[in-house]
Amino acid sequence: MTELLVGTRKGLFVLEGEPGSAFEVTDRAFAGEPVEYALRDPRSGRVLASVTSPFYGPKLWYRDDPAGEWEQADGVAVPEHGEAALERIWVIATGETEGTLYAGGDPGVLFESRDGGASFELNRALWEHPTRVHWQPGAGGLCLHSIATWPGEPERLAVAISAAGVWLTDDGGATWRRGNEGLVARYVPDDTPADQVALCVHCLQRAPTRPERMFMQFHGGVYRSEDAGRTWTDIAAGLPSDFGFPLVVDPADADSAFVIPLVADLDRVTPDGRVRVYETRDAGASWTPRGDGLPREDAYLTVLRKAFARAGEGEALELYFGATSGAVYGSGDAGASWFDVATHLPPVLSVAAGERRGASAR
């Protein structure tokens, strides 16, 4: 049984089912409020959810018991009496040590928890980075949306910020350096000084079995790094478009990745009215469309950066993505065939997938 945590513009939806047929909605939380992202920590079973109340601001919540109350995590705020306020938490990620979690958001902030998500602390080195004054937001704000841990090495971390590029640390976040060499921003003049180019990374993922390899969906470009994010090579040849938001890597195979191309930055819908996921099995040397079971006609979907997720790995890899139309699609065979998971949810902001644990919330 697979569990999906689907963040939507109107609440969190928990869906459960087996690949191949529609999933059942087993719980809904934060009704009416935008849920940016939700994650079940597989180590503890705790569910964490990022909610941006239009009235009361961004909050991070957690719940251990499906029938229990949600509790607000402490410390998810930027320093008081400054010039900035926390706008949104975009992503939550599990760390490499027991109880460690990360949360990233706008304005370009990273929080770390060492108690399983009950409380968080702002990463001061990134917050006070001297280049911050030059950081520019993308259309979604100055969002830290991707957090890539390094298996077995908790001090090594990569994060991506739209549009402040990739940032790398080898000392647990005490110091940060850029990881942007090779990225080409077509949306600025060629002669713009490198340190003034806003680098709009849309999604960053690490290949766990070969951690120095990373994949990136850029704002016009799909890239791969072989040196832990220091330099990047364009691997978009063969895709119908190099614009898109999310990207998924098969954790069992460092050569396998999946993207969902959209037409272009000025037309953010699936190309040709067809919905297709593109798969590479050779680290980006070639791409194959996978659309068996997905809409083939008059389908102009937008899939946002956190709305593509996986469960399992290798031959048992399951893929799930949701669209702003409210539809969610899934594959139980690593993208070879697809099925409708849900068709009428509110606009989907994010999807997280995992093995279902414990009793149903109902």
Binding site: P54, F55, G57, K59, E80, H81, A84, A85
Partner: protein, 88 residues
């Protein structure tokens, strides 16, 4: 002393009490005093800059007010979610 009146969910966060007599010469000072007295409500009305969240409305004795509206000892301040915050 002026009184701040809250509805859910702010009421629950502020000790499950709807009315709060607080010291302050402006709406902003009253709201800051409220959040100090009830840390669970911290950040819900004022953001980290101390600015009232965009889709929170205040009414002083029934009249629309703002963060800088001056408050007298007998005034009543209602804090309500704004209709502008409930987007489709």
């Amino acid at each position: 002393m002026p009184v701040v009146r809250l509805r859910e969910p702010l009421k629950r966060l502020a000790g499950d009490r709807a009315e709060h007599a607080l010291e302050g010469a402006t709406v902003g000072e009253l709201l800051a005093a409220l959040e100090r007295a009830h840390p669970a409500a911290g950040g819900w009305i004022l953001d980290e800059r101390g600015i009232m969240r965009r889709h929170i409305n205040v009414f002083v004795n029934g009249e629309p007010g703002g963060q800088d509206t001056r408050i007298g000892a007998d005034d009543r301040v209602d804090v309500l979610p704004a209709i502008s915050g409930g987007g489709a």
